[in-house]
Amino acid sequence: MNDISTTVDSTHPMISMSGVEKWYGAFQALRNINISVEKGEKIVLCGPSGSGKSTLIRCINHLESYQKGVIRVGGIVLGHQAKTIDAVRREVGMVFQQFNLFPHLTVLENCMLAPLRALRLGKEEAEARARQLLERVKIAEQADKYPAQLSGGQQQRVAIARALCMRPQVMLFDEPTSALDPEMVKEVLDTMIGLAEEGMTMICVTHEMGFARQVADRVIFMATGAIVEEAPPAEFFSNPKHERTRKFLGEILGH
């Protein structure tokens, strides 16, 4: 029996993916993905729809399985065993396009559920933590409301607070502003920028190129399941190397 590490180890990169490949039947969704993300780094992942960017980040917390390659989060090798998957999920927070708040729980209860049940914190500690993080996303006064009573932007900020309540080492954002009305995008991006400034390790799938310019250390461009180009934002936007990247940037920035 080899020993399976389930604690984060600071000598490794925060996240590394090497040679990751994924198929849905005959369709290859990810091709030879190699990424290394250091602690505190902010990565923006972009690309046309169907390019595999959501699939990629969903592999990091094993919402999707993959057939080849190795993913490490901290020192933990994300195997397919429940034990390592659980360990990784406790370290990795995720924010979804559709918010996915639990409709039958209040904002406060949404934030307390996982700390109570997955971390087995006491009620007082979980509540204190939840209130503190709701404060941080500037929504503390809505703690006793239900998700359906909030606007989209408010819901997404609650979803961010809910993920932060697990004190994750890494945050994954899967198109967090795509389902929002335009006037609500800013409040969510501001929350994400605040998080970035505090040094959170982040991987964001987003088409918000302003956000990418402002906070990303690197922008990764994907197409047809492969990483095409990877560069700091200044270089990525001013001097894209690949034709595919230029075409994509032309389409999203060209109006």
Binding site: L63, R90, N100, F102, L119, A148, A163, M166
Partner: protein, 222 residues
């Protein structure tokens, strides 16, 4: 027609009819509780990774939904004693009602679970909860809320089905009224009264479900 209505036997039998109503109510409530346990448990097993467990539930649902309740209750009451399982009429009725209602509840609740967006399960898993916790803490309540009207009508039906338990003389309204009717031959008066009683019982049951729903499923949805 020169039939003269005479409610005297009904009036004299009123105390026993009213207690029999309680019997019916008790049978129905116990049957529903059992049906709910079978329904939720069945849905969990129906989604199991272990194929034989899924087949077991599918077969159970098919068997129960495609055979008459009267035969099911006779089977438990008259056939099972041959295997050494001997039950009194009332426990027999509760078990038969629970099994029958449970088979329908499995299909209804399963529909509710399937109506919950996949993102709810994913959000729970991403937060480090186990599959069982996700089902129990995140999926179940919204799923039950979604199908509660269907479950209510299924359970009102179950309440009325308790009358079939009179075939094995379980203590409930229909068997007690049959006794009064056969003593007095006042069929019209007896069954007229019993009809009203069932109507009231059904209505009470629906009120009970509405109250439960207003309390337990009060959270707003978009």
């Amino acid at each position: 027609m020169n039939y003269t209505l005479d409610f005297t036997p009904v009036v004299e039998g009123l105390p026993s009819l009213l207690t029999a109503c309680l019997g019916t109510f008790a049978l129905a409530i116990c049957g529903m509780l059992l049906a709910t346990v079978i329904g939720i448990g069945g849905v969990v097993l129906r989604q199991s990774k272990i194929a034989p467990l899924r087949w077991l539930i599918i077969s159970f649902v098919e068997l129960i939904r495609n055979t008459p309740f009267l035969v099911q209750i006779f089977f438990i009451y008259f056939a099972l004693p041959l295997t050494g399982i001997r039950l009194d009429p009332t426990p027999t009725a509760i078990i038969a009602l629970g099994i029958n209602g449970g088979a329908y509840a499995i299909e209804i609740i399963r529909g509710g679970v399937q109506s919950i967006p996949k993102g709810q399960m994913e959000a729970g898993l991403a937060l480090g909860l186990h599959k069982g916790q996700v089902f129990r803490l995140i999926i179940l309540k919204p799923a039950l809320k979604a199908i509660f009207p269907s479950l209510t009508s299924q359970f009102v039906l179950l309440t009325l089905t308790t009358s079939i338990a009179s075939a094995i003389s379980a203590y409930e309204l229909t068997s007690v009224s049959q006794r009064i009717e056969s003593d007095s031959f006042r069929s019209f008066e007896v069954y007229f009264t019993v009809t009203i009683f069932y109507l009231v019982i059904s209505w009470l049951m629906m009120r009970l479900f509405a109250l439960f729903s207003a309390r337990y499923f009060a959270y707003p949805v978009k």
